[in-house]
């Protein structure tokens, strides 16, 4: 099968890759670009482990074709921290023990960042609904939501 050449930007850096037209962005990230921080839990948009942003919008990368990345800005978990400093959200997930096995964590961190960019002051209920597409089987979400609310407070400059 002929592969398609795609020019895109991932986490602010220019990236080129070849992919089959039917490949998902998730497979391209993981298998072509070795960016395995984005996880696959279901391949059908039901778990959110593969959450990334495309042109600033939160999506499941398993439901985006790699070829659609042409000319787009992709954001993945690998681009959340700046230099060697954790993002506030990452720091708060650690402090609140908001991860157990950690497989859902990259997706949740990408989603939380998207949430707080859209809504810097969410209620607990708003946070829970926004993140409803990010399944976590270990934590019961309690500590995740606490980490999200604490992140929001710090990012608003209130803590």
């Amino acid at each position: 099968m002929t592969k398609t050449h795609v020019t895109t930007s991932i986490n602010g850096e220019p990236v080129e890759f070849l992919c089959e037209p039917g490949d998902t962005l998730l497979n391209v990230l993981r298998n072509e670009l070795q960016m395995t921080g984005t996880k696959e839990g279901c391949g059908s948009g039901d778990c959110g482990a593969c959450s990334v942003t495309v042109d600033g919008r939160l999506v499941c990368s398993c439901l985006v074709l790699g070829v659609e990345a042409q000319g787009a800005e992709i954001g993945t978990v690998e681009g959340i921290e700046s230099k060697d400093k954790l993002h506030t959200i990452q720091q708060k997930f650690l402090e609140h023990a908001a991860l157990q096995c950690g497989i859902c964590t990259p997706g949740l961190i990408v989603s939380t960042k998207a949430l707080l960019e859209e809504n810097p002051n969410p209620t607990e209920e708003e946070a829970r609904y926004y993140l409803a597409g990010n399944l976590c089987r270990c934590t019961g979400y309690d500590k995740i939501i606490r980490a999200v609310m604490d992140s929001a407070e710090v990012m608003r400059g209130e803590a």
């Binding site: 099968m1 398609t4 089959e20 037209p21 039917g22 998902t24 391949g43 059908s44 948009g45 039901d46 959110g48 959450s51 495309v54 919008r57 939160l58 999506v59 499941c60 398993c62 439901l63 985006v64 074709l65 070829v67 659609e68 042409q70 989603s111 998207a114 949430l115 609904y129 926004y130 993140l131 409803a132 597409g133 990010n134």
Partner: protein
Amino acid sequence: MVSVVYEAPETVQDAVTLLVNADLKATVMAGGTDLIIQMRDLVTESRLVVDLKKIPGMMQATITEKGLQLGPSMCCAEITSRDDIKALYPGLVESAYLIGSTQIQGRASVGGNLCNSSPAADTIPALFVTGAQCLIIGPDGERTVAVEDFVTGVGQNCLGKGELLRLITIAKPAANTSDAYLRFIPRTEMDIAVAGAGVSVTLDDEGVCTAARVAIGAVAPTALLVPEAAEALIGTKLDESALQAAGQASSAASSPITDRRGTVEYRRHVVGVLTKRAAAIAAQRVRGDKA
């Protein structure tokens, strides 16, 4: 050898030409949230994927004096963030908000939902009650069909070979009109509707319902308009007994199946409850607007 060909034409005409001339199975892609899953489940099938999102207007929505002109591929997240759309068609925006997760809403579109033509699609009953019209473009030119004539069966619609949905138009609602959409799912989010109900009502100054539309979803092969339910509301002040009667009319009009998401009896019952509740919310919205 399986082959998938991807095209992202920049004009409607190019899209139509691609679809007409396709020698592979041609599929149109908007947000891809249904299509990519189908492609994954059928890896042995070759196909042409025509992505419509690069065509100007497909991802835009404008509100004029006449009403809403909705680009069919605009993602639901964009719609739900638009206060101007919400002010006119709160039920439609509710239905867009209910589709999947935040992530799914970042891709899924009203047009895609309509063209996928699932019996359980949330936006379809919501579109029904707004009286939306679908502008279709194909090799033989343009045509317009009412949304209730667009979907023809389970996963089937009126689009012929080479045709695509270009625009959804919704007239500006009459004064003192509002709508609401409710669906039932076992969890709070993520699930596919077990049943859904959209209701639009117009009230006069006395609070009497002068016009109504009721549509139900996931309880028949396609979404259904239920005129009997609307009639039960018209001429009343939407008191409990009128709401109850509308609910009963919806239940009676439904012809659901039993599957992993619900039984015949359960769906029939719940669609009545949803109709009643959606009518009450729509009425409250009108009253609230006035207050």
